[in-house]
């Protein structure tokens, strides 16, 4: 599992390198638009490769560099997936439903995710959205949808 990230990094670097090389050459400048991104993509690939090599050398690894095992607990992973999912739903619904409805639903969902108490979560969600709405829309005149 710990080798997935370095491999993904190398692939992303290779894609960025290929894309950067495809940009048109500059006629008037010695530096092309793709030169700088190509250098960075090459740097990402080299570092990804070093990281990958590090995962194969697990014998004498007291060095912080290479003890790279991703140490994420299952509960944090599930919380992360849930929160990201909620955020994507919020981004999708923000323009359609408006601030109060979309953020209100998200606030209630997040409060419930932590407290597992329905009434407390609803009260929290309503209060949070009301406070933020009054501060930003009314006092600071942010044109919230």
């Amino acid at each position: 599992m710990e080798r997935v990230f370095p491999i993904a990094l190398i692939c992303a670097g290779a894609m960025a390198f290929y894309t950067a090389r495809s940009y048109p050459k500059s006629m008037f400048s010695p530096v092309d638009p793709g030169t700088f991104p190509s250098l960075l993509a090459a740097g990402v690939m080299v570092c990804g490769l070093l990281l990958l090599i590090g995962t194969f050398r697990k014998t004498a690894q007291p060095v912080a560099d290479e003890d790279a095992s991703a140490n994420m607990g299952m509960s944090e992973f599930m919380t992360g997936v849930a929160l990201i999912g909620v955020l994507i739903l919020l981004a999708l619904s923000f323009d359609v439903l408006g601030f109060i409805e979309s953020c209100g639903a998200v606030a209630v969902a997040l409060a419930y995710l932590q407290s597992r108490r329905i009434i407390a979560s609803i009260v929290t969600g309503v209060l949070v959205v009301a406070v933020v709405y009054v501060v930003f829309k009314t006092l600071l005149a942010v044109p919230l949808p």
Partner: protein, 503 residues
């Protein structure tokens, strides 16, 4: 003198003073709640700064960061939970003092010396920044290129932790900075067809996503009971601590100076300052270990250094536009939004505003004493705030901040994408600070690179023709050689036990 008078006029307005008080309150509350850092406090204040004057916006950032940095000591002493990474250096000492019924002395010393260190850092900023700006006027794109590269190299070397991972973070940040129209020729790069990205990735939503979302994921786990047990503070916070501060005056002065100097080094910041000064105070102390005096000395030295570093970190940020740490990276983004362009000409273009920032630094550190006193007294009350109410509040403010940057829901998408990126990177132990530094410095670095190469007809060795540029290049070379040597030594399988550096 006229500039100073104008600066005083800018500071002592109701808007700025109210902003200082409000952001100090927010900063101290955020710092005192375990899990909420100074960075989170600044990320939360960002959306509000759009609607402030430039001086008020800077005042909000300065006050909140100074307060949160000091307030981070409070949960450390009372609950053994460091409020900020910097306060982790001496958490065990202050908590042990708390268990012995001396929490008031640990906190009192910490708060007084933090205020002192903060003011000394501000004085450093006032003295060094204008002088350095005069020197920086003679810099061309060559020097700026090497200086920016030096800052980024320092970030990977000094920041602690893994060199490879810090380098990956810097490369990713620099790569994100290339999104948008190219410096040369105006070719759209990595935009995916989105016209919103032609001007580059929106900075504020990206920063909010990168810092706030991973923190929220950590905080959003179900909690059974958040009313943690805390050590009670008995005794007089400041009156009982003055004698301690006087006893360690030499160490405090030396640590404050060292902290301010460390802060000036790009990429170092408060955390590094606290750990280094703590280590030095332990190395050179003449006191008997594990005694009350020994513990207080460690707390005093490191507390003074981390607040002093805050001011120092503003020096490269203001003079060269190179953030000294992650906090100043956020500050730079706010200054750009407010129309203040960091660089050597900042003192001529925005002199009164810059001197106003210096005054606010001192003001905020004076205000630190009563605010921290109130916070310590209200700590029990603060711990009663249910955590399930904090996460939705922070997330809602973040969403509004990402939207309000351009009044466009595209900002929310940027926040979500960068939140996912930040989460993936943090889960794989890639530090986020260097990503931000790379992201902010990516475009200027390319501009200097292109300008210099054009000047020398594409010959990269032209970058080494000016003496100052060559000296800076040598520094970069030394840093890189050191890092490459260390990497090669690890890769060829040296089996010597090497103690990992503090994360």
């Amino acid at each position: 003198m006229e500039t100073l008078v104008a600066a005083v006029g800018l500071v002592f307005t109701s808007e700025v003073l109210l902003t200082v008080i409000a952001s100090s309150f927010l900063g101290i509350v955020m710092g005192a709640i375990p899990g909420l850092t100074a960075l989170m406090a600044l990320a939360l204040i960002l959306p509000f700064t759009f609607y402030m004057s430039p001086v008020a916006a800077a005042a909000a950032m300065v006050s909140a960061s100074a307060m949160a940095m000091t307030a981070g000591d409070i949960p450390g002493a009372l609950m053994r939970v460091p409020g900020t990474p910097a306060s982790a250096a001496y958490t065990m000492d202050s908590y042990t003092l708390g268990l012995e019924g001396k929490a008031h002395r640990a906190l009192g010393v910490g708060i007084i010396v933090s205020a002192f260190g903060g003011i000394l850092g501000a004085i450093y900023l006032m003295l060094i920044a204008p002088t350095l700006a005069e020197v920086a006027f003679y810099f061309s794109s060559d020097e700026y290129f090497w200086l920016t590269l030096l800052g980024l190299s320092c970030t990977t070397l000094i920041g602690g932790g893994s060199t490879i991972r810090s380098a990956i973070a810097v490369f990713i940040g620099l790569g994100l900075g290339t999104v948008g129209l190219s410096v040369e020729g105006g070719v759209p790069r990595f935009t995916g067809g989105y016209t919103e990205l032609l001007g580059g990735i929106p900075l504020i939503p990206a920063l909010i996503g990168l810092f706030a979302v991973p923190e929220l994921i950590k905080m959003a786990r179900p909690v059974a009971d958040n009313a943690a047990r805390i050590v009670k503070v008995k005794g007089r916070l400041f009156l009982d601590s003055i004698a301690d501060v006087w006893r360690y005056k030499r160490g405090i002065l030396a640590s404050s100076n060292l902290g301010a100097v460390i802060g000036v080094v790009p990429g170092a910041g408060s955390d590094v300052a606290a750990w280094i000064t703590y280590g030095l105070s332990r190395r050179f102390t003449k006191l008997k270990p594990e005694t009350t005096e020994w513990r207080l000395q460690g707390v005093a030295n490191a507390s003074a250094a981390n607040n002093a570093a805050l001011g120092g970190a503003w020096v490269p940020a203001l003079v060269f536009g190179i953030p000294g740490d992650t906090l100043t990276a956020l500050v730079i983004s706010v200054l750009y939004v407010q129309g203040i362009r960091p660089g050597p000409s900042i003192f001529t273009e925005s002199g009164p505003e810059v001197f106003a920032i210096f005054i606010i630094f001192i003001l905020a550190n004076i205000l630190l004493l009563p605010m921290a006193w109130m916070c310590v007294r209200a700590m029990n009350l603060l711990m009663q705030v249910p955590r399930y109410a904090i996460v939705p509040m922070i997330l809602t403010v973040c969403v509004v901040g990402a939207y309000a940057a351009d009044n466009d829901s595209f900002g929310i998408w940027v926040m979500v994408v960068f939140g996912i990126l930040g989460w993936i990177l943090e889960s794989n132990k890639i530090p986020l600070g260097p990503v931000v530094l790379g992201f902010i410095l990516g475009r200027p670095l390319e501009q200097y690179f292109v300008a210099s190469l054009q000047k020398y007809g594409g010959d990269p060795f032209g970058l080494l023709t000016r003496p100052t540029a060559t000296a800076l290049a040598v520094c970069v070379g030394i840093l890189w050689s050191f890092q490459i040597f260390s990497l090669v030594r690890n890769l060829i399988g040296t089996r010597r036990s090497i103690k990992p550096q503090g994360e």
